[in-house]
Every structure is written in C-alpha cells, then in structure tokens.
C-alpha cells in the first residue's frame, strides 16, 4: 500500500515538475522574445526565425495540404453517406466548412508539425546538450533560451496559424470537389454556401487554437531537448517523447478550448 502511495506521489510530483518547467520556459521565452523580432531585435535572431519558419512552415506545406485534402474527402464522404439517407446532402458543405475552420484544420496541422518540427527541436537541442554546445553558448554569454528558443517559438507562432489556414482552404476545396463529382454542384455555388455557413468567429477560434498548439509544440519539443541527460540514446528517447507528449497535449488543449468556445457562445 505504502509503495503504491509512494509511486502515485512520485508520479504526481514528476508531472507537476514537468508542467512547472514548461511554464518557466514559456515565460523566459516570452521575455526573450523581443530580441527575435524584426527591426527592433537582434537581426541574427530574426534571420534564425526566418530559417525556422521555412523549415516549420514551407517545408511542411505539401504534407499538410495533402493531409487536409484527404481528410476533406473522408469527411465529405462519411458525412454524405449518412446525410443522404435524410435527403440532407447539402449539409455536407456545412460539415466540411465548419469542421475544418473550427477543428480539423488547426488540429491536423498541429499533429503534422509536432511530428516534423517538435521532434526536430528536441533532437537539435538534445544533441547540442550532449556535445556541450549548450554550455559553450552559455559561457559565450549567449542564453540558449534567447539564442535557440525565441526564434523557434516566434517561427512556430507565425507559421502554424498560416499552415492552419492553408489546411482549411485545402480541406474545403476537397469538399467542393466531392460535391461537384457526386452531385454536380457548381463550385462557385459551393463557395457561396461555404461563406454563408462559416462566420468570422469560427475562423478566429481556429486561429486561437493553432496559436496554442504552436506554443505547446515549440515548448514541449525544446524542453525535451533541454532535459536530455547523458548520451546519444537519451536524445532518441527525448525525440520520441517530444512527439508523444506534444500530440497528447495538443489534443487535451483542443478539448479544453472547444469546451470554452462551446460554453461561451451559449451565454
């Protein structure tokens, strides 16, 4: 019994420690963020941020677009097969449009980015830790939080919402294609319906979510890197755990945000 209690206690403390470290890192990064901004900040940080944006955003574009198109088709087909029985196939438009802007666009993007970039953050920083590069940054009076984290976080904050919008557009396009082939719905008419069904609030809530997801992915990835202890094997472990933890936290955060938006719209 005592050992069970001990284990539960130890597990709880470990999780609290993790959440605490994440928070500390987030605040430290926000404080250092000024240096990464263009014009007012350090131009080398901004250059690093632009490079990161290319890696997180531009390089992920084909994958995110393809994922969104496939998911758009899936959603439209699954929706149509049920809704057709009620003669309500035109609701597929609402399903795809609202489903993507509010939910699937940001979520799919976050999962793709956490697999691509979250893991690469963890691997990059973890390797730097193992090879003493982080220490050598520190003794050169360059804080790793400012030097590495701020540009990565800024890049994630900009590119993840952009990717989400692109993912929304691709998903909705796929829905339009499906409607065109299955019911010969004119694409222009489809887009008019789409614009009728989504409101600005849907887009904004989707973007708020994707900003939160970007925060989770960047910080979990980097924290896992900083927590590397020992040799190369632990870099591998932390890379895996960066993807697992950030995907998990993204979905938890999604649930929380969706609940908040659901209950605030009623009142």
């Amino acid at each position: 019994m005592a050992t069970v209690l001990e284990d539960v206690g130890r597990g709880t403390i470990a999780h609290l420690d993790y959440v605490g470290s994440l928070n500390i890192q987030l605040w430290a990064t926000l404080r250092a963020m000024g240096s990464a901004l263009p014009l007012v900040g350090n131009r080398y940080r901004w250059q690093a941020a632009v490079r990161q944006m290319l890696q997180i955003g531009v390089d992920a574009l084909p994958m995110v677009a393809l994922m969104a198109i496939c998911t758009g088709f899936i959603l439209a087909m699954q929706g149509a097969s049920e809704l057709r029985r009620f003669g309500a196939i035109h609701y597929v438009i609402d399903l795809v449009a609202v489903g993507f802007t509010r939910e699937l666009g940001p979520l799919l993007t976050a999962i793709a980015v956490s697999g691509r970039s979250g893991s690469s953050f963890a691997a990059e920083i973890g390797t730097m830790k193992v090879t003493e590069e982080l220490d050598s940054l520190r003794v050169m009076a360059l804080e790793p939080v400012e030097f590495l984290l701020a540009p990565k976080y800024l890049a994630a904050l900009i590119s993840v919402p952009c990717l989400s919008i692109i993912s929304n557009v691709c998903g909705i396009l796929a829905g339009g294609l499906f409607m065109f082939f299955s019911t010969r719905l004119d694409p222009l008419l489809y887009f008019r319906y789409v614009l009728d069904s989504i409101v600005l609030r849907d887009v904004i809530t989707g973007l708020i979510k994707s900003v939160a997801f970007a925060t989770i992915i960047a910080h979990v990835g980097c924290l896992e890197g900083f927590r590397v202890r020992g040799g190369p094997d632990s870099v591998g472990r932390s890379t895996t755990s960066a993807v697992v933890k950030s995907t998990f936290l993204v979905i938890v955060a999604d649930a929380v945000f969706t609940a908040i938006f659901y209950f605030t719209v009623k009142s």
Partner: protein, 267 residues
C-alpha cells in the same frame, strides 16, 4: 589581487560531496593546471569556475565579482572576459569554422563585417587553421577541432583562457603542438590560462603552477618543481603511475572469493 579566487567551495550532487571545501587563488597572467584523475572532481570544478552550475556553499570571485551570487548582467560581463575550449571542442556543427569563430564577435561587438572577417582570419591563423575557415566541424580531425575551439575561445580577446582536457584523445605529436600553442598564446596575449588535464608531460610543459585534485580536495598546490619533489602519497601515485589496490592480484582474488561465497549462499 588574484584574478580568480575560490573560497571554501562545496559541491554536492544528490547528497554526494564532489568538492569538499576547495580554496585556490589564480594570479593574473599565470598558467594554472588543474591535475587529477577521473572522478577527482576537476571537471566539476571547471563547471563551477564557468558558473555553469551553482555550488552548495562557498564563493568564486572572478575579477572581484562573486559569480555564484551575482546578477545575470554581471555574469554576462564576467563571461565575456573568459574564453573556453571544451573537451569535445563543442563547435556548432551547423556553422562553418569561420562562423563558429565569428559568432561571439557578431553577438557581442559592433564591428563591421569586413573587420570581423579579418579578426576571424587572424585568430584562425594563430592556431594554424587559416585555410580551413570554410570547412564544417565534422570535416576536421580531432586536433583541428580542438584548435578551432581555441580560436573561438580567443575571439573576444579574453583575459582568461580555459581549456578542458586539450590533449584528451589526441596523439602525442598533436597534443605537443597544442602545448606549444598554449605557451605561444600566453606569451603573446599575456592571458591567464587555466588548463584541466590528466596528462603529466603536458602539465609540466605548460604550467606555472599545478593544483592537484584527489577525491574533491586539493592534495597539493605548487610550482612544477614543488609538485615534482612532493612526497605526498597521492601525488607520488599519480606521478609514478602506481595503480590503485583494486587491480592487484590479491585484491582481485579477494573479490572473486567474495563472489563465490555469495553464490554458495544463494544455492
């Protein structure tokens, strides 16, 4: 006044005492060699001098500033006057050798790019790598990496140069070259040099004074001659390469006997 002065330094990890009340003064312009076997605490001491870790108690004054308690801004200014070459060289693998050396200059000075280029070339020339600026660290041999790390450490013309195991993993010729380089640097730039090593020939070649660490304490501190003439059993053991008891045949037999006893007891 000594440039570095360590008083009653105690360092503990998880309840284990690594350093037990060290006192050491390093004078301006001298070469101090920290000598000690594996696990003697010399790397820990180095990390303390570089303020990479906080001690349990005690003070470390570098240029009159207590780096165990000072503000972040003060620490930054102290670090700018220390150049460090780590054991693994810790060059940034994503940057060319030139950019590695240029990094501290770009970050901490407002020199024009053309001047930085010139300074970088000069530093690389000093360590004999003027033709290798465009190479990436992974394309260099072990000795070249070490020398590139020294060039980077020299970039900001530090008052204190710290070298962690400069000859570890290098053949005798290359490591002798590094020794000569250290002597040259000291003569030319009048720097205070701290070298951590376990190589006796190298230590006696470059040192003004030697501080010998054993089990977290200084067994003796003195000039080359004093150390050579020392009658301290630990110093003698180190100088005369006498193995610890555990490698004697009687000790091995005793371990073996103990192992057989536990096997019999378990049967």
């Amino acid at each position: 006044m000594p440039i570095i002065s360590i008083r009653d330094l105690v360092v503990q990890y998880d309840g284990h005492c690594i350093l037990e009340g060290l006192n050491l003064d390093i004078e301006h312009g001298e070469t101090m060699v920290l000598l000690g076997g594996s696990g003697s605490g010399k790397s820990t001491l180095l990390r303390q001098i570089l303020a990479l870790e906080r001690p349990k108690s005690g003070t470390i004054l570098v240029k009159g500033i207590d780096i165990t308690r000072c503000s972040a801004a003060e620490l930054k200014s102290v670090r700018r006057s220390i150049g460090v070459a780590f054991q693994s060289a810790a060059l940034f693998n994503s940057l060319s050798v030139e950019d590695n050396v240029a990094l501290p200059l770009r970050e901490h000075t407002r020199l024009a790019p053309s001047i930085i280029e010139l300074v970088v070339w000069m530093k690389l020339a000093v360590v004999g790598l003027a033709d290798f600026g465009k190479f990436h660290p992974q394309e260099l041999s072990g000795g070249m990496k070490k020398r590139a790390a020294v060039a980077r450490a020299l970039a900001l013309e530090p008052e204190i140069l710290v070298l962690d195991e400069p000859s570890a993993g290098l053949d005798p010729i290359v490591s002798a070259e590094l020794d000569e380089l250290i002597l040259l640097l000291k003569e030319v730039f009048q720097m205070t040099v701290i070298v951590v090593t376990h190589e006796m020939p190298s230590a006696f070649r470059i040192a003004d004074r030697i501080a010998m660490l054993y089990n977290g304490r200084f067994t003796s501190i003195g000039s080359k001659g004093e150390i050579k003439a020392s009658q301290n059993p630990r110093v003698r053991q180190f100088l005369d390469r006498i193995p610890e008891d555990m490698t004697k045949t009687s000790a091995v037999a005793a371990y073996f006997g103990k192992y057989l006893q536990t096997q019999e007891a378990s049967e």
